[in-house]
Symmetry: C2
Subunit: 386 residues, 2 copies
């Protein structure tokens, strides 16, 4: 991770436990309720979530970002606090959640393990970004515990999952509503995205495997989706736009997007501090804008505060797999942690962390997307946000 963290090129937004909107600024936070030099009023910054700011629209986001760059370094003491020790909550009210399956390497890995002998990609995979809806009520912020879920593991057998897994993903937060009955093309969808978070899409592989035909993942994934507390504005990531993988067949009309459509964000998966894999979101076959265009293609629209995520990001090389299922060959080859213990799946007490950052590029210093980290407590245990 070669980045300057939360510097002037970054300026991500979060919300503290008093409902104040904050901006991360080097080792400090700026409390925008007390900040000077911003046009947007304090009612927006004290509203308990970013949604009121989303509703002001892209022009206000750009103005605020520009003003923050100018005034971040000279805020009064009452607007500044050390970042360590600030309690961050989930920074936006989540409307709907969609999760895609946009990494070709991940989709191929899963098909090879789950449906051996069949086509490595589902029929529609190259023609549209396959996805499903998740559960908004269980989107939790980094620092909140995850209890091992119970469920029906196979016919007649109920119990705690023995195959608890994680999925390394990047998530996109919708800032501008697309009304019901309207749609946006991939060429214009980016303007509806406010920013980016890191996502851990927790998965119970045994529950998922038994339940998913024919309606897809349900309880195997609905128990928890962890997100990072700092929403990095999409504008901050402009230096990391890169060409996406070649798409063949060419996408249908609404999915066509001019290059560069990719985004080179690095993601690292750690269990109890041991790095297990590193991958870049640049390899995603379907871009964020293509995912968002797809969500609206049928007139469903999206609302400010909706979250959509890439699905697990895996690369082609060993050490770039975005889930334990892929890293361990469906549990057969456990990974070894720094303390010598082995894991086929996540154990009770484990802390799983995904870190995200961008490497220096084209004159831009690197930046940090922070981390999303959760600890697993035993089935039925109390879940706290720390």
């Amino acid at each position: 991770m070669n980045d300057e963290g939360f510097g002037p090129g970054n300026l991500p937004y979060g919300v503290d436990d008093e409902g104040h909107v904050l901006v991360a600024w080097r080792d400090e936070v700026l409390d925008l309720v007390h900040a000077e030099g911003l046009d947007v009023g304090r009612d927006v910054w004290a509203s308990g979530s970013l949604n009121a700011f989303f509703d002001l629209g892209p022009a206000a986001w750009a103005t605020t970002r520009s003003q923050l760059r100018a005034v971040a370094a000279r805020q009064p003491a009452r607007a500044r606090r050390r970042r360590a020790g600030v309690r961050l909550v989930r920074p936006f009210d989540v409307g709907d959640v969609a999760d895609f399956y946009a990494s070709r390497e991940h989709a191929t890995n899963m098909a090879t393990m789950l449906r051996p002998g069949q086509d490595p990609l589902p029929e529609a995979w190259l023609h549209l970004p396959i996805g499903y809806h998740g559960r908004a009520g269980t989107v939790i912020v980094s620092g909140c515990d995850v209890a091992r879920p119970a469920g029906v593991l196979r016919a007649g057998e109920v119990g705690p999952t023995s195959r608890l897994d994680v999925e390394v993903e990047i998530g996109f937060v919708v800032g501008t509503t697309v009304p019901r009955g309207r749609s946006v093309s991939a060429a214009e969808a980016d303007r509806h995205i406010f920013g980016v978070v890191l996502v851990n899409d927790w998965s119970a592989r045994d529950i998922q495997s038994f339940e998913y035909r024919p309606l897809g993942p349900f309880l195997g994934k609905s128990f928890a989706t962890s997100v990072s507390p700092w929403v990095v504005p999409l504008a901050a990531l402009d230096p990391w736009r890169v060409p996406g993988p070649r798409q063949d067949p060419a996408p249908v009309g609404y999915l066509r997007q001019p290059e560069p459509r990719g985004l080179d964000v690095r993601l690292r998966l750690e269990v109890n501090g041991t790095p297990l894999s590193t991958v870049s979101s640049a390899g995603l076959y379907w871009s964020a804008a293509q995912q968002l265009a797809h969500l609206t293609a049928n007139g469903a629209g999206v609302r400010a505060g909706d979250l959509f995520a890439s699905g697990t990001i895996s690369g082609a090389e060993r050490g770039s797999e975005g889930s334990l299922m892929e890293l361990t060959g469906n549990g057969a080859q456990p990974v070894v942690l720094a303390d010598g213990s082995r894991r086929s799946w996540v154990a009770d007490g484990d802390t799983v962390t995904i870190r995200g950052w961008c490497e220096p590029r084209g004159g831009a210093p690197g930046l940090s997307l922070g981390e999303v980290s959760s600890t697993v407590v035993p089935c039925g245990g109390e879940v706290l946000c720390r």
Copy 2:
């Protein structure tokens, strides 16, 4: 339909376009903001949705219901309006949406058409209520138009669906939150349900068929889910509790529920006024309480305002199919409307209505669940709420 409509045994709740909570009372509505004799305060009744009332909990719901029965007939003029002409909005803020697949006859019909030669039921079907998450942002109230959705119909082909369908369902509105990390068993889940609505789960069969492997329905269903405007309290339906179909194998622990677990609500599907089918929810294999228990079994919890629906309800006899796909044999045998026109699928301009009621039973007069009705406008057309 042999029922007394909205009489003293019913007392369903709705919300008008001024954000006032109403109760349907015979041919009138009672505006609870102006009603007399209720303990619950006017701030709750003027809050724009039923969610504030949900938050007061089951004791307040019971007290209010009891008070309404006593005072409904003697409200002052300013609390009473003719029901015709009242503009009703979606009566609750929807959190998460889940849709089940709880009718054995429907699941069997679909499997026979879509996966001929394979098992008529998916592997897990008899062991748990299979379901998926839907889109809360497109839950619309009766009277709102549905625009024909476009999508990828098959590889490389984009356009308006040519196989627009409907699904006759019953929906359940969660009134009492189950916190994340907790679960409720089927034996105790009913107390978390506030009431019942009629649901039309619009479906584009070509979009759905192309996209659904392996993650389930997505854009084929996300464009619209219509609900009836009157939420009938679960308490009003006590006389229509009936034994459910025998369950073999016996359900696992958290899905066990004492009889009578079924609910005998009649549902009739009409297109442009022509009745096409009639079915009872009494035949559902998995009950509402079993569905809700399943939703929480993994610790996901539910929130007040969450909506879960049964999935299409079909019976075993001809004329009890809950979708056009089933009524027409996947489009092969069109139905004939009263004007002589034929339909394999829904046409632009069609008005699709589902009516719900309970027949007189055990001394209780019948009651009405009202209707959910939407008109289809052409792809890209403006969607209005009438």
